[in-house]
Symmetry: C2
Subunit: 307 residues, 2 copies
């Protein structure tokens, strides 16, 4: 059964990992947020694509949820010495990916082409697609001005007030080749438990994608990134509130209501089900917290059973 | 006493190290071959500048004579996996330098400016100068066609016939800022025991430099890279023969005769002294093989004593 999966990085990667074990990997198309992409040290870094790639290749650092397992940080140490900003923790093995990608992009490859070549090199048989080949940049509005998502998330460790989020240049972007076909053609679309504002939001900001999700006759199923009013990880609630979305599972449902068929929520949130169903979204109650591989696989099986 | 020092990488670095111990480092200008520079993985690599910088910073891998001591090769391993050529052994710590330099160059810095900033970061107080900010590429003619010096030296391990060497685009190049002033203004010029064809040759190919060496009234002293007909290291003899220079200490002297005042040669080569002096170059006999720091410092002291 073919699945189109919309995801960000670490949070979504857990479900992607589960699905890659429970479904045929070659039947999965993972459409990844690139709003977090950043150029550091002259290198094009795609944190979400990389996290998903390392996860699918089985080399992700399982404790951190990003980067390559057992990586070292020798280059970063010297980069710091050379006066380069080194708040973004690039491991040596990780660096190779950014170097290779940057060279490919400079030589004229699109981000989708570079991603496909890097995926093949790691033996990944799922389709890993950037949401767009065009640069769409998630910018976070703070009292000190607008900063990139990575500056907000990594450099400031999300300890700064947010008054809004913009997807810069989204209006000029187009979905990467394959994205629309997979959304239209897959047996179902799965929206991972990623941040609705800074992981799924940028994907939805690419003209055509939201409309395709609305238009598809196949089920669109999301897993809530919020449990009992608190984000599973990171500043999801803060960022939702900043853009005027109620930081609850209901806020998630309302935010996706125009295209979402089913929201899978945690038992802790069962009281929200009536309100959510009132905005036209079916609900399914499941333990959605994923602490280990078995949790990830079980949730993946439950999602597949819904279809 | 100010010294202008012409050098390549590993061979010359030994004498540079000795001189940096025996003279005031801030009075040394090291004018470095960049004909070996190569772009790999989209990164600008300057092997000779880097070897000299690591040597002056005291972090060079002393056993290999290049690279950073104790470096790891994690990024390179992954670069290989991503289909990048990995015959050029870039360590993780070393990689930081190429990444930082490439970013500076892309942002508009000249190679001399980038080199100065990288030197400052490593606490190097000598002037480390590329021979030119312009690209001059040492190309080696082989039966299979023309290849870059690094392809010849590292990839093929100099196991291929050479029929000639060209310094591509030398005629369009200019000496880097500071190079001419140092040659004209230094109390002496020292030509390191580097390969005359592929280390010193490219420097001499930059219009104006050879003429400045001829014109200076201060002594120009070279240390022979050949002892008893054999190169101290590498394919010096093969490359000399390939360009029609006798692969002997006499060949070295004749090659530099138009600007050289003194050639320091090994006792093993004392029989050549008369022939060399006949072409107008004075000779000085010294143990010039440098196996350890004491050898390097002793030779440096002898050179300084000559001035």
């Amino acid at each position: 059964m073919t699945l189109a999966i919309l995801t960000g990085g670490t949070g979504g990667a857990k479900l992607v990992e589960g699905l890659s074990h429970e479904a045929a990997p070659e039947e999965l198309a993972i459409i990844c947020n690139t709003g977090d992409d950043v150029v550091l040290h002259g290198l094009h870094i795609s944190p979400d694509l990389d996290t998903i790639a390392y996860t699918l290749a089985g080399i992700v650092d399982k404790e951190k949820g990003w980067g390559v397992a057992g990586d070292t940080f020798s280059a970063l140490e010297l980069l710091g010495k050379y006066g380069e900003e080194n708040w973004f923790k690039l491991g040596d093995r990780d660096l190779a990916r950014h170097i290779a990608r940057t060279r490919m992009l400079r030589e004229g490859a699109t981000l989708a082409e570079a991603t496909a070549r890097l995926s093949a090199a790691l033996g990944i048989s799922s389709q890993l697609l950037p949401m767009s080949n065009d640069r769409v940049e998630t910018r976070v509005k703070t009292p000190e001005g607008e900063i990139s998502f990575q500056e907000y998330f990594v450099k400031r460790r999300w300890a700064v007030d947010v008054s809004g989020v913009v997807y810069k240049d989204a209006e000029k972007s187009r979905p990467a080749p394959g994205v629309m076909d997979w959304i239209h053609g897959a047996a179902a679309v799965i929206v991972c438990p990623s941040n609705p504002v800074t992981s799924i939001g940028p994907i939805l900001s690419v003209p055509g994608i939201r409309k395709a999700l609305k238009g598809t006759r196949k089920p669109v199923i999301a897993v809530s990134p919020i449990i009992a009013g608190a984000p599973v990880a990171g500043p999801t609630d803060k960022l939702m509130a900043a853009v005027g979305v109620e930081p609850s599972v209901f806020g998630v449902a309302k935010n996706y209501a125009d295209f979402l068929d089913i929201l899978v929520l945690a038992p802790e949130d069962r009281n929200w089900r009536t309100r959510i169903e009132a905005v036209g979204v079916q609900t399914v109650e499941q333990p959605i917290r994923m602490n280990d591989l078995e949790d990830k696989r079980r949730l993946a099986r439950e999602l597949l059973a819904l279809l």
